[in-house]
């Protein structure tokens, strides 16, 4: 395999937007009432190569799951494009869509309700093969056993068991095996370990990492936990309210986050060593609703450093000297030059502080 094929992205999204229209009844629709639009995913670029795991971090409602679901065409993107191995699959339907579904798989967060309790482990993993009409019954069995092998679950004694006989970690492995049995090239792993006990999370992450390398998979690893992301991802993107606010190599972002939101996410991680506990600025309010996106920078309503410029002009994702890309006026002076009358934010200068209450004042 030459370098050029190895570096060509397996999946690539350009300016991807997925907006949700609130559903209206027949009568309100006839009356011409337009329902509100939620801009869940609002212009995201992402590309993932073979054997690469890209981490996507953000809080609930930031659009990270919407991105995952849009990439596997569970949601129809509103605009933008998705390219898979060079083919535009943004709008494919029918036969072509089914072909794509064979190549792109998704693993969900909840290992307890992601497996049908009435089916045996064998049936569960075989199902994708049945859906795509692959192989004879005996061939399918061989494939199922191979998939179980890959996720390190002994096939012989487990193939006839039911999901209720297995622990959460084992179930998540079954879900991974089910995704692998079609030999896909791209997998979305949507919070695959967040419902598992800490003591077994590492083994599932490790498995994903090994599988990606052994099988040449492109993986989008979605998580709210920025600490675990660094273990298996080389590249990390941080999302806030439908947009990527910072991306780059995992080690850079974890060691030196530039965007105030990423900084706060990093500071939020509890530290084992009391000496390492960082200063934690209180953020104002909650994540705004995607139906009501603030003007200017989307983080400006909560950012402790926000100024007039932030509330008026949305910053672009700009390249930084270290190779990171950040969407913040602190690290990009173009908007400030264009609008000199508006005050520009500065690193570390707190402009807006939250009344955190007496309890939080001196607490670290």
């Amino acid at each position: 395999m030459t370098d050029t094929t190895a570096t060509r992205p397996v999946i690539e999204a350009r300016d991807l937007k997925t907006h949700f229209q609130g559903r209206t009844g027949i009568f309100t629709a006839l009356a011409g009432v337009t329902p509100p639009v939620a801009r869940a995913l609002d212009g995201v670029d992402i590309s993932i190569r073979e054997k690469e795991i890209v981490g996507l971090v953000g809080e609930s409602g930031c659009g990270k799951s919407t991105l995952g679901m849009s990439l596997v065409r569970m949601y129809q993107p509103t605009s933008g494009s998705i390219t898979f191995s060079g083919d535009d699959i943004t709008h494919v339907e029918g036969r072509k869509l089914k072909d794509y579904r064979r190549q792109a798989q998704i693993i969900f967060q909840d290992p307890y309700s992601s497996l049908n309790p009435r089916l045996t482990i064998g049936q569960i993993i075989e199902e994708p093969l049945v859906i795509h009409g692959i192989g004879s019954a005996t061939e399918r069995r061989a494939k199922v056993e191979r998939a179980l092998d890959l996720v390190r679950i002994p096939a012989a004694e487990n193939i006839h068991r039911f999901p209720s006989d297995l622990s959460g970690g084992q179930r998540q492995r079954i879900a991974i095996a089910r995704a692998l049995v079609l030999e896909p090239r791209f997998i979305v792993a949507d919070e695959p370990v967040s419902m598992l006990d800490v003591s077994i999370q590492a083994s599932v992450l490790e498995l994903l990492d090994e599988l990606s390398r052994e099988l040449g998979l492109a993986v989008l690893y979605i998580s709210h936990d920025i600490a675990t992301v660094g273990y298996i991802c080389k590249h990390v993107a941080v999302m806030y309210l439908g947009r990527i606010v910072e991306e780059g190599r995992a080690e850079d972002i974890l060691a030196q986050p530039l965007h105030p939101y990423t900084q706060r996410l990093m500071a939020a991680i509890p530290r084992m060593d009391p000496g390492e506990v960082p200063e934690r600025v209180e953020l104002r309010g909650d994540v705004p609703s995607p139906m009501n996106v603030p003007p200017g920078c989307r983080f400006s309503s909560r950012c402790p450093y926000a100024t007039e410029l932030c509330r008026a002009v949305e910053p672009d994702l700009t390249d930084q000297p270290g190779g990171q890309r950040v969407r913040c006026h602190i690290h990009d002076d173009r908007a400030a030059k264009a609008r000199p009358e508006l005050e520009r934010p500065q690193a570390g200068r707190i402009t807006e502080i939250e009344d955190a209450g007496l309890l939080a004042q001196t607490a670290g």
């Binding site: 809080e59 609930s60 970690g169 003591s199 709210h224 600490a227 939020a268 009391p274 009344d355 607490a363």
Partner: protein, 366 residues
């Protein structure tokens, strides 16, 4: 910081008296001895908690750590008298010398909220959707203090200021609050009577990381500013590291290890504590190789048929035949104690436990 509210002199005087009376309450002391909790199920007896003992000294913070199904939440429910009626409870829990286990609801009435209060896991369930938040806090105050509604409301306003919520939101209903605000309201409610002992049962599990850290900073504030005694139940050992002076690590219904947090985290004696620490993501330091994440193989034993030996034996890389046959007693080493037969070999175990091969090479049923 809080905007000056106009209160009549009489109201201000009554409020000051209430505040004074409540703040005079001492922090509570709790000693739990040999607590065992079992449920009868159709398939036999389920030993949720067995022989758990610990002590919370007045004004200190104890972290109760463990993974799902280790019995930590059951302990909290037992202390609050919230377990179903026919649960078998034995042992004692002395709150300032008075045993609070097995009391009737009527006997618990003057104790709950007043002397021991709870910050629950899911704030939505502990708030009544049909009453505004202010009324719910007032109700708790009025049940225990002979004051007027106006004074109780003023106290609720103070509590809201404490957790950083604007007083006018007292008039709102739980569904109008976001998850983080609801959790703050629950904290305000738990503090309203300045109970000597606070139980916080996974207070931040359902929240996003930033909100988690902001809520935890308030929970730490309770300890710092109000010097209440507290038990913090969590699965996150790092949260305990930041918050609690002492820690009890539970595994499969039993205490695996306990002691001062700094000691336990620095020199864990029990292989489970070592494993738990290794499994926790650490932040990378630039230029240094990152410590690998190591998971503990295997699964928690079935508590319907608990193993006769050490409950961790099936997942422990250092287990011997002794471990598999005889349940270890708590061995005390300095201020720490651990339920392990080999506490004297802890140094050797710690070195081995830091190596991924130690755990990977044991073959247990996935």
């Amino acid at each position: 910081m809080a905007p000056a509210r106009t209160r009549s002199p009489a109201l201000a005087r009554d409020l000051a008296r209430l505040d004074e009376r409540l703040s005079a309450k001492p922090a509570a002391h709790l000693k739990v001895n040999g607590l065992s909790i079992g449920y009868s199920t159709l398939r036999g007896r389920f030993h949720a908690v067995e022989d758990v003992s610990f002590e919370v000294r007045a004004g200190t913070n104890l972290g109760l750590v463990g993974e799902s199904g280790c019995g930590k939440s059951t302990v909290v429910k037992a202390l609050m008298g919230l377990l179903p009626e026919f649960t078998g409870i034995s042992g004692e829990a002395l709150l300032d010398g008075q045993n609070i286990l097995g009391l009737s609801d009527a006997q618990l009435e003057p104790i709950r909220w007043n002397r021991i209060s709870l910050i629950t896991q899911s704030a939505m369930n502990s708030l009544d959707p049909v009453y505004c938040i202010g009324d719910q806090i007032c109700e708790a105050i009025l049940a225990h203090e002979k004051v007027g509604k106006a004074v109780a409301w003023a106290r609720a306003e103070e509590m809201f200021a404490l957790v950083g919520l604007p007083a006018e939101r007292l008039y709102e209903f739980p569904h109008q609050f976001s998850g983080g605000m609801r959790q703050r309201a629950v904290i305000a409610m738990a503090l309203a009577l300045n109970a000597g002992m606070l139980l916080a049962d996974e207070p931040t599990t359902a929240l996003d990381p930033i909100m988690q850290s902001q809520i935890m900073s308030r929970i730490r504030g309770i300890h710092e500013h109000m010097r209440r005694s507290m038990i913090l139940v969590t699965h996150d050992i790092a949260v305990v590291a930041e918050t609690c002076e002492a820690v009890v690590v539970m595994y499969a219904g039993k205490v695996a290890e306990s002691g001062p947090t700094a000691d336990v985290l620095e020199r864990p004696l029990h292989p489970y504590t070592m494993g738990l620490q290794n499994a926790f993501p650490r932040l990378p330091v630039r230029g240094q190789p990152r410590q690998p994440l190591i998971s503990i193989p295997g699964t928690v034993p079935n508590l319907l048929l608990p193993p006769s030996g050490c409950r961790f034996a099936s997942r422990c890389p250092f287990a011997t035949d002794l471990c598999r046959t005889t349940a270890p007693q708590l061995h005390t080493v300095g201020a720490q104690s651990a339920a392990c037969h080999y506490t004297e070999r802890a140094d050797e175990f710690r070195a081995a436990a830091a190596r991924p091969e130690t755990w990977r090479n044991m073959r247990v049923g996935a």
